[in-house]
Assembly symmetry: C3
């Protein structure tokens, strides 16, 4: 038996919206401590890792670890019906192993109640160890700003060079019509979430496929800030923290430039 109530249901909606274009079918892993998702994208280029701690839920009961195989696009279709202020109650019963029941209720007593049975699938798991290494550079910036940069630079080319140095963080793209650079400098805004905080132990410069950075920014609704971590020769981490009880992280290996 698994049962959990997420008062702010739209958090889960935004998670599925954030990953559905990258990840088709995946396991929703439920344990005593958390719900998590870990999956390579369908092209096996990037990795998605989602975590919602049990403290995110007003009710949480998970008798035994359980993997619920979902189609993210079907889940997304059902979540489209979630009202902005609705809670979600998740229920997976032991005697119905191929069904995940979701109840959408508005806080308003007189509102509509909706319940959905989503068919589950068996999905082979390829659990991946993600080393928790320290990074040479960490950049915290407004998520909407990162989204804008990734979207804008697409018109110039396919590959974005991200270089973190003394001046700040520079996003550069070069292509047929010309080239462009956008420089973000550390700064302290009145609101923490509008600040840019750069922690740099040593300068790092890496190249990434803009297409994937743009996939990641589908998570912008999840968080006002994004945290970008880089070290030479290892995958970049683009993290959208979900308040203090979870996150959606994307990992992407740098492109190796041939000279």
């Amino acid at each position: 038996m698994f049962e959990a109530v997420l008062t702010e249901g739209k958090t889960f909606k935004h998670i599925i919206e954030a990953i559905k274009d990258l990840v088709g079918d995946c396991n929703l892993d439920c344990s005593e401590e958390e719900i998590s998702i870990q999956s390579m994208d369908s092209a096996h280029v990037s990795l998605v890792a989602v975590r919602l701690g049990s403290e995110a839920f007003s009710t949480y009961r998970c008798d035994r670890p359980n993997s619920l195989g979902i189609s993210t696009s079907n889940m997304d279709k059902i979540l489209k019906m979630l009202g902005d202020k609705d809670s979600i109650t998740f229920k997976a019963e032991d005697d119905k192993p191929d069904i995940l029941t979701m109840l959408f209720e508005s806080e308003n007593d007189n509102g509509a109640i909706a319940d959905f049975d989503l068919k589950l699938m068996d999905i082979e798991r390829d659990q991946l160890g993600i080393p928790d290494t320290p990074y040479k550079c960490t950049i915290q910036m407004p998520s909407s700003e990162f989204q804008r940069i990734a979207r804008d630079l697409q018109v110039l080319g396919d590959t974005c060079t991200i270089s973190c140095g003394k001046e700040g963080v520079r996003f550069s793209v070069s292509g047929a019509i010309g080239n462009g650079n956008i420089l973000i400098r550390a700064n302290t805004a009145e609101k923490d979430e509008e600040s840019v905080v750069i922690n740099m132990n040593e300068p790092v410069e890496l190249n990434f496929a803009l297409r994937y950075l743009n996939f990641f920014t589908k998570a912008t609704k999840l968080s006002n800030t994004v945290v970008i971590s880089m070290s030479p020769d290892v995958p970049i981490v683009v993290e959208y923290p979900i308040q203090d009880y979870g996150h959606t992280k994307f990992y992407l290996a740098p492109k190796i430039e041939e000279d």
Copy 2:
């Protein structure tokens, strides 16, 4: 000679928007009492009935009953040019039997004046008697809520079961990805138009093509409330009242389930 001035011209605009996807060509029937439209949809599955009483108009003169055959899509193109606060003056002169003239004027004296001559057609009429029977269940609910339900449930399947019982009204759909139910309960909101009022003599459960329910909800702009009437084995009526001087009604026969 037919001449009528509709101060709130956008009411007529919304009527045409509501029916144009269902009904291609139809007669605008003008009599001393009212303007009305009655037509099957092009697939002959549902029936549309519109009525605007003469009291809806600030000026109304109809010397003799007259049928003006219009293309709803051409009419819609012209009405796209109507300003939000414009009045419409309709004029059909006896010596120009194939022209309907419409004048759009804003209340503002300095505004633009637009006049249009729409070409009319001869349309064979198949006047249909609609029996005015009492219904076992009548549900009044916010039209936007009904629109949301019909739209949302589409992703799950093609057929919607509407069952009116003690608990309330349940909209259910079942399909390949799972199934869903949305329950609406009677409730009294501060504003009448936000209330849900259910009159039930006996429980009724019928199946309908969601595609058509979604066609009907194009009338949502016409009215804050929708009134749904059901009896076993007879067509459902989905009515959008137009203040106290008219309505747009849609009739749709239930689907017969084969076991």
Copy 3:
């Protein structure tokens, strides 16, 4: 060396948006007095003339007349990245003749700085003499109203008759579904930009391709008012003034009706 700073960068963005659908590649002609563009559209039917006087810029330095050949669609792609309150610094250096550098800076010191190098092309110039003749009729009206009329009347046909007479200015279109007239009368609104001012020496009636009038209205964002000038048998001028330091003008020859 050419260097110029446009504090309100979006003015230039709006100019390029206004002409890019008409003009593919064109020269940005820089002189001591102004930046200007003059080009026929790709079908050689209409003419575009843009002028931004040096007084439009907070810094302006042009050592020698210079023609910068740009692709308007590439320029537009880069300008999409301009923030609403960003300034643009243009730089063309003599030793890099095939590059136009643009710097986008927000007034906010902490904001992002973006710089772009746009590749330039050699474009053959066909400088056209535009006679500065007096016109029989001049109409000043809100640009948004002109945009609405040109857009709305498209559904009725391809050719718009514009006739300026005692009553006002009449825009007429006739086609398969019927015909329509929109009449604009002179009037004095509280705000100058909402007024309609008609100067008529003698009545003029000319026919124009609506398709082109609709191209011209892409300049609506540039100015609250549009000034339309007409004389018999000569091209109409549709001018969008840019404050008091420039303009975007479109010229279009009237259609000759065959009887």
